[in-house]
């Protein structure tokens, strides 16, 4: 049976647990994302149980070459998760999007799609749990009030923009999350941490992450456009929710932002996973270890604002 979100934002029931699907990148190229997630959930007293024997969802590759495969592969993970009945939280938005799509097809799609998934995986879908994104769980279920209560070191003076990327928000009928044209939860969360959130209009404009290894020139153009716009909005750093966006934005920045922030002129704009900033605001010591894993070091920026 599913453990549903409590009515009020201010209380997360003791003993709430989630199935945790890291996806391939969280144990490799997005290691610091995983580390920060583990740290803050521990601080919040919520247990994350890594999904047993989970398989790769094959995000972009399956959707490119074989749509049926892209629906079926996440199905195996859903079959494993439904055994425990815990809601499944997925940090990587690409993986989240694929699992949510499979869940959608099982619940609302054509019967032939449902049959395809169940038969190729070999299970019967019971629908006894939800696929959740990490931002949804932190922002809506744990709740901003709960987060606020754990903040020890407000991120005062840190000017950021919240960057969602694409797959957490679109297609809207599948993600059923925020309005892609004007999402606000990430900003509210960052404000709860005390950060100085800059308004801008590009929170869900694509960074080209899916092409960053395949056709890098596309990613280069999109990344640099985004970083310029963040800079124009007054941000010193961008806050992401997706490991592929983070990697793309770190790797593909070629032109330094036009005007310098507190970081030295000509330097690139650093990126943070939102959970890293939560950990920093919670005063967790291990936060310092995460910065070493960034391709663009945020250390001098953080020092310049006293964090």
């Amino acid at each position: 049976m599913a453990i549903k979100a409590p009515e009020s934002e201010t209380q997360v029931g003791k003993g709430v647990e989630f199935s945790y699907y890291p996806g391939c990148s969280l144990h490799s190229t997005a290691r610091e994302f995983n580390d920060s997630i583990q740290a803050i959930f521990k601080a919040l007293g919520i247990k994350l149980v890594e999904l047993e024997d989970w398989n790769c969802c094959s995000a972009a590759s399956a959707t490119t070459l074989n749509h049926a495969l892209s629906l079926a592969l996440p199905g195996r993970n859903l079959a494993i998760a439904q055994k425990s009945g815990r809601d499944m939280v997925i940090p990587c938005t690409g993986c989240y999007n694929r699992h949510k799509t499979t869940e959608f097809e099982l619940r609302h799609g054509h019967s032939s799609n449902r049959a395809l998934i169940e038969e190729s995986v070999g299970f019967k879908y019971q629908g006894n749990f939800e696929v959740r994104s990490l931002l949804d769980v932190v922002g809506n279920q744990i709740g901003l009030e709960n987060v606020r209560q754990h903040v020890q070191k407000p991120l005062t003076g840190l000017k950021v923009v919240g960057y969602y990327g694409c797959l957490l928000l679109r297609p809207t009928e599948i993600t059923q999350f925020e309005n892609p044209e004007n999402p606000t939860l990430l900003n509210e969360l960052l404000r709860t941490l005390g950060a100085d959130v800059q308004p801008w209009s590009y929170a869900s404009d694509c960074c080209g992450g899916d092409q960053t290894l395949v056709k890098p020139d596309i990613a280069v153009r999109l990344v640099n456009r985004l970083v310029d716009r963040a800079q124009e909005a007054g941000a010193q750093a961008m806050v992401t929710v997706c490991p592929l966006c983070q990697m793309s934005l770190e790797m593909r920045q070629t032109v330094p932002p036009k005007a310098a922030g507190p970081s030295a002129a000509g330097a690139k704009m650093p990126l943070f996973y939102f959970t890293e900033l939560i950990g920093l605001a919670f005063g967790l010591e291990e936060a310092q270890s995460w910065w070493k894993k960034h391709l663009i070091s945020p250390v001098s920026l953080l020092r310049s604002v006293g964090l």
Partner: protein, 184 residues
């Protein structure tokens, strides 16, 4: 008469009703990579409506698409152009068309074969094999080296226990092995 077999094939695979498109160009106007496309999503839909199979399957546009789903989110007729381009990619691959971006296909094929073998992705294998296969050995080398030094690129692949279950999924959805129909 237009090639209705092809039009039906695209409609079915993409699960979209392409005839509803009235070419308002909202998709094209919001596409982040349209300036690197030859046609753009709206013209591609028009070409599907005319059944222009060969042109579409050899176009570069379908590989430029970043899958951001902005087109689908904004279309007034609820057509997801991203799914249509996805269907075209799939058909191009299945029918061994003259693919405009063979490097992209190679990347995805390597990715999937790795997942099929181990159940999970292994970046080192992926990048090494891709760069070898496309003879693109030195791009991203500095970044790759740094990532490795940070411990973010494990040398050993992670292999799941019940690999046969994953293989079963691959076999069941392989279009060459079985007639897969969906979206009816």
């Amino acid at each position: 008469m237009p090639d209705f077999n092809f039009i039906d094939q695209v409609n079915t695979l993409s699960e979209q009703t392409i005839e509803l498109c009235y070419h308002c160009h909202k998709c094209t106007a919001g596409c982040p990579v349209v300036d690197q496309m030859e046609y753009g999503p709206d013209r591609i839909l028009r070409m599907v409506q005319f059944g222009e199979k060969e042109k579409l399957l050899k176009s570069d546009d379908i590989w430029v698409c970043v899958g951001c789903e902005t087109c689908g989110a904004r279309c007034p007729n609820e057509i997801n152009a991203s799914r249509v381009l996805g269907a075209l990619r799939e058909i191009a691959y299945l029918e061994n068309a003259a693919i405009a971006e063979p490097g992209a296909v190679k990347f995805h094929r390597i990715f999937l074969s790795l997942v099929q073998r181990t159940g999970r992705m292994h970046e080192v294998s992926l990048l090494a094999l891709h760069k070898l296969w496309t003879l693109n050995l030195f791009s991203d080398l500095p970044a790759g080296a740094r990532l490795f030094m940070m411990g973010k690129v494990p040398l050993m692949p992670s292999i799941i226990k019940r690999r046969s279950e994953v293989k079963r999924i691959f076999d069941a959805t392989d279009p060459k092995k079985k007639q897969v129909s969906h979206g009816d």
